[in-house]
Symmetry: C2
Subunit: 328 residues, 2 copies
């Protein structure tokens, strides 16, 4: 392994000089710089991040904690975070907590032990305790907290939009899927939808479910058994929506004529479903980027205009909802 001392010897200078050239810090003579850079190139020297990190107590790594890497929404967040970080010369340790608190704790510890410079957490635990007395900056992503920096989409509005759009298109007996209670964003979209539904002349049912694949299928089955007269479904995310769409078609419901479905998230696969899924789009990629930017600001101790960044959601009209009737 080539070390800074090898470079120093080759260039005929001290390690301090090499370090200064390397980091553009302090003074260094033009000629020396050239000498050092040549030596670096010739030896193909790459500084050891670990040594650097040990002294500075700061690595160039960011910890990103996801609740469930299988849900396509999260990889999309990750891409946003990663692209932004890459531009800053930083890299990601992605941890998958698999919705298990133990794994989350483990990863936070790993992050600390490896001197990550900041953490972005998208897990779905209600408590932020784990993060309370961390000396590392943390940004919560797709998660709402009062006293911590966070980036999330406007769940209240999302829920409202979903309800409004499905009502506007004529559903009268609506099933509203409620995501896990501990996930605040899920509750927001739920509340938003409830608000709208209450104000409208429609009946509705609430069904609680988790966000996982497995649960989605079960819920879909029971939904149609218990509430066969349902003519509109507001799903808690696209995964459940896919499962419901699947089950609805299986039992011969006609979509969207007989039953409308609105998803939530707009994962890449949603438009490949048939019929393509109408959904409330969360700008996952951009949320990732924003979270990364926010974290960078905190790390660099720049003043923050806002601690919490709320991103807009949009209704993506595809074909699990009917065309709205023109009445103008």
């Amino acid at each position: 392994m080539v070390t800074i001392r090898d470079v120093a010897k080759k260039a005929g200078v001290s390690v301090a000089t090499v370090s200064r050239v390397l980091n553009n810090k302090g003074y260094s003579h033009e000629d020396t710089r050239k000498l050092v850079n040549e030596a670096i190139k010739e030896l193909n020297y790459k500084p050891n991040e670990v040594a650097r990190s040990l002294f500075k107590k700061k690595s160039r790594l960011i910890g990103l904690l996801l609740p469930d890497i299988r849900n396509p929404f999260f990889p999309e967040l990750a891409r946003g975070v990663e692209d932004e970080m890459q531009e800053q010369g930083l890299h990601l340790i992605i941890g998958n907590a698999d919705e298990k608190p133990k794994k989350e704790i483990d990863y936070i510890e790993t992050f600390k032990q490896n001197n990550v410079i900041g953490i972005i957490s998208a897990t779905n635990q209600a408590e932020t305790e784990l993060y309370e007395d961390l000396s590392i900056p943390v940004v919560f992503l797709d998660r709402i907290t009062n006293n911590h920096p966070s980036v999330y989409a406007d769940g209240l509005d999302g829920g409202k939009k979903a309800a409004r759009e499905i009502i506007k298109r004529g559903s009268k007996r609506i099933a509203l899927l409620r995501g896990p209670i501990e996930v605040r964003t899920a509750q927001d979209r739920f509340k938003g939808a409830v608000d709208e539904l209450c104000n409208a002349n429609v009946d509705f049912q609430v069904i609680t479910s988790s966000f996982s694949f497995h649960d989605a299928e079960k819920v879909a089955k029971t939904l149609f058994e218990k509430f066969p007269e349902t003519d509109g479904i507001i799903a808690s995310n696209d995964l459940s929506a896919a499962a419901i769409l699947h089950e609805a078609l299986r039992i011969g419901r006609s979509i969207p004529d007989d039953l409308q479905i609105i998803g939530y998230d707009d994962i890449p696969l949603s438009k490949l479903l048939f019929p393509p899924l109408s959904t409330i789009r969360q700008p996952a990629y951009d949320m990732g980027r924003e979270a990364a930017k926010l974290l960078m600001k905190i790390i660099e101790k720049q003043p923050l205009e806002q601690l919490n960044i709320q991103m807009p959601v949009t209704f993506i009209e595809r074909q699990t909802t009917r065309k709205v009737e023109k009445n103008d």
Copy 2:
């Protein structure tokens, strides 16, 4: 930050003793161990991985490089790798190369600089050059190489199975999707399918496409325009299959009566499509675990029974293929 010296002071011993107790190495007296462990607990001491890594030139991190985190096949691999590693007390740096060689190079560098103890690479570059003179053990995953350890599924057999099953079920004019040429596993399944198709009394078309979402949609459109008489499609992966299924339904083809489709991978969403997608299953999670095990063996310099582990693939019969006619 609590350091080993703090612990030593509190326990009234030297740092060497603390280190020995910590790692169960060398001798240490029962009483001393108790003392040290108490001090550790009281101070809530966690060893600094970075310092450890600097001296040992080995971290407890594994680098996992994925070509495209959005393709659900890869997160599934990642889960397998992660679960196995977790049991070994190791952690993952997941890098998303986004199919870009530059990112791949970058990540390999990051992995090196952070003293990862091993690398698992699932990228789709043909050349293994980048990995040639790395001093770090590398295992290739979902990738076939001759002179490097690797774990992959039996593409040849997968292709054959797909062809055989679709032929058995009566398709006569088959479109065969060929994945990216540089991806060896894609070529294998392609070749396997070609083999079978040639031996059968059917016509077939070859169409080349990438593995990405975007491409999948385009290919689906052109496929039906150029070859409207197609009555069976062997897709290069489930993503393309989903896109094709979608397009087929859009233009009013009846699945599976009029047109059969077989996917490849069996990603979690495949069974949520409608009709649920018949596909060739690659045991992604298990592949991940095997790759992790193999890497561990190499790291621990255990003898390897085999350098390359080939995993079996299975045909998952769902409903984009017809029931096979009983003729017994």
